[in-house]
């Protein structure tokens, strides 16, 4: 059962573009995080798709595992920082977080 590697790559590219678009346009910090997750999962699709066609299948799958764990750590940390913000400011709208500018 084989299929052209282009299919999952197109899926990955679309997912990545969606995630990047969302991450750059959303105002809610949690939604930005969800979009970043989308980007990282696009990477995972790429890695595993490429890995399935190459000799280096393990390398791709291993990389995907690491990406998953690091992403979890990253999200946990981001949520913790957002929690500090939410406790103090009672909102998580990044456009209203603007003490620092220019």
């Amino acid at each position: 059962m084989s299929f052209p590697v282009a299919y999952p790559l197109i899926l990955g590219a679309i997912l990545f573009a969606l995630g990047l678009y969302g991450a750059l346009t959303q105002r809610n910090a949690i939604r930005i995080l969800m979009c970043v997750e989308l980007m990282l999962n696009a990477v995972n699709i790429n890695l595993i798709a490429f890995g399935s066609t190459l000799q280096a299948a393990t390398a791709g799958q291993l990389f995907a595992l690491f990406v998953m764990t690091v992403a979890a750590a990253e999200v946990a940390l981001a949520l913790a920082i957002i929690l500090i913000l939410a406790r103090r400011e009672k909102h998580i709208d990044i456009e209203r977080v603007n003490l620092l500018r220019w």
Binding site: S2, F3, P4, A72, L83, R87
Partner: protein, 118 residues
Amino acid sequence: MLQAYTDVLIFLLVGAGFVVLNMALGRLLRPHNPYPEKLTPYECGEVPVGEGQVPFNIRYYIFALLFVVFDVEVVFLFPWSVVLRDLGLYAFVLMVIFLVMLVDGLVYAWKKGVLRWV
């Protein structure tokens, strides 16, 4: 090449059909007799209290955060356990070091009183 997916499609159809068929059969065969006790949501046998959609206490998030990190790190244990027999003591020691580092962080959080429900 796409024919390979025919199997998947058939599985999907059969799976969905199975559910739909049984639900329909149940609806046709069972007696219809609703009364208030039956319509309330099931909360482990207790009488339900309050609304279903309440904001969660912010203190739950700390536990959720700690859980997520530890939960995902287990990913490394699966490939490790598969090849442990071949790699032997070396791999075992490495994984112990990894887990000790993780537990180290947990102990710190614990000692700092993060895990206490204040």
